[in-house]
Amino acid sequence: MNTCSCSKSDLTLVDKVLEEYAGTPGSLIAILQKAQAIYGYLPADVIYRIAEKTGNSPAKVMGVATFYTQFRLEPVGKYMLMLCQGTACHVNGSERIAAAIQEELGIGDGGTTEDGLFSVKHVACLGCCSLSPVMMINEDTYGSLTPDKALSIIREIRAKEVQG
């Protein structure tokens, strides 16, 4: 497959990024980061375009994109819930939080709810260990979680969204 027919992204957006980094060696990760910031994830056609313009094989670009946990190959929900899996969170019961979230949203690590509202991701230590267990929802961090507290935070967001 040389061209991708499965997704149709506006490639002019990534072209601007590619121009910015043209001739800068070693910038593949930075390009992927910027592309993901634009599209919310890395659509297949964007990966092919990056490969073509940077002179890499699509396999190499895909290899880098799948190596790092930051990169996503699927669209994500409006709210990205990142549950910390650090040692302190583990010791202080993050597994119970994960179970409660799974029960509430019906999705586990890597999943997205059908309404496209929430995605859940288990992430490496967020570095807020003294407030463990911790989760981040988009830019906001929530600490000292209990299963009930985590659920009320999620329900609050959902209620806000339903009200519009």
Binding site: V64, L131, T146, P147
Partner: protein, 583 residues
Amino acid sequence: MRVIVGEGSCGLAAGAGKVYEALQTKLEGIESASLGITGCVGMCWLEPIVDLYNGKMLAKRLVHVAPEDADDIAAAVQSGDLSLVDRITIRKEDEDFLRKQTRIALRHCGVIDPADINDYMADDGYQALEKVLGTMTPEEVIEEIKVSGLAGRGGAGFPTWFKWKAARNAAGGPKYLICNADEGDPGAFMDRAVIESDPHSLIEGMMIAAYAIGAAEAIVYVRAEYPLAIVRLENAIKQAREAGKLGKNILGSDFSCDMRIKAGAGAFVCGEETALIESLEGNRGMPRLKPPFPANSGYWHKPSNINNVETFANVAWIILNGGDKFAAMGTEDSKGTKVFALTGKIKRGGLVEIPMGKTLREVIFDIGGGIRDDKEFKAVQMGGPSGGCIPASLLDTPIDYKKLSATGAIMGSGGMVVMDENTCMVGMAKFFLDFTAKESCGKCVHCRIGTKRMQEILTRITEGEGREGDIELLEELCAAVKDGALCGLGQTAPNPVLTTLRYFRDEYEAHINEKKCPAGSCAALLTYSIDPSKCVGCTMCARKCPAGAIAGTVRNPHSIDPEKCIRCGQCLAACRFGAVSVG
């Protein structure tokens, strides 16, 4: 009076941003008051923290501050009657947490405004760089660092001067200076705190190192999970460049060096220096074979030197105060101070900087206040996935690279996760092997497959499927992975298993032979039951049970069907009468 809100990541997560907004409104119009921010003072369990300063003097430290407290704070500041905020003032015993520390790497953290270079300059900032560029040769700088005995604070403890000298003497160029801020050890957050709270210390330390090795470009590789650190460092680099502290002809000298940030993309192995270099070059972060070492062939195969954030944060202090003063602290083998991130089942969790040579007991009990809820201390995990669990019998071990290594753990980057009687040590080993198996880059067979097999064995043991011979098989795998893995990640991955086997073998045996988890933590090995004499029939547990395993009617004792029970523990958490027990 200056009102200063602690805005590190922990503080913000605890609500410092809302406190700041509330104070902004309430302090408006009070002429004697000014509102500002600082970074993280390291007393994370007391966040959000607000400090009241008279000039440079800390007049009062307020803790667990809520936005609703803004009225009282404003009244206290306006009237000068600080007793109005006694209610939220830090307790004497909590103050001990800081009083018992010796702060060098963290000297400005929670004191200065990280967003303002002038605040840093007012506290001796950039004077070391001035001294170095004005009066010292690169060789003299390296000599001073040698005298100090400073060793790599990222974990390996390799002498800093030796790496600098190797890079200085390496043939070819350009040379690169790299800061490893890919703080990936779960449970360690001192590097994040330093960058967020005192970014200029890092910049100054790096510029001094760049001068010593002769580097024209400095790069900071920061973890993607630390967005605030990246923002603050970007701002600090911009300010430093404008003030002539980096860039062309620094401070009017012949020395030029610029600096940039590279955001990581999430891969633990990139904390390994050659993997980090691969990542900087835009590749998958897979380690290279050593030798050649980065000092001779690093970034773009040019001479490169890589140090950790905390290492750099000590440099300016050493130059200003003298290497001998730094070396006067610590032990024969380990000089100076070390920062630890004290977390887990600890009363006072946060950042602790102490001279080397203090014992684990002093850090955990004197400074950290001991175990939460007065439970029994069981072990402290040091060094993250590369380290190990140290038991109570070794609490008097002095903090020193060699002495800690002798326990089977390592100094590591400084994560210190405290565990109590309810933490299962087999579960801990499994937790770390889950981590390393997931983070193994896959380049070498021993690490890729060895960690996976160990993870599988540990999983079956914690699920009650352990077999006779599993312990021996684990030991064999540990030895093979240690010997055969290519990089530090793999070579040290067995440590959590080896130390728990060494000190808590009985727990492994109980899991395998008796199908019991002595800590009462492994879900598959637990049985939940309700004591009918304590149960009042409030129905709370039955309503919480997601499996419908609890039967009973209002005001009558309930019971749990072990066949249906999924061992989630929600009934235990829900019961307010202590009627649910687990065994």
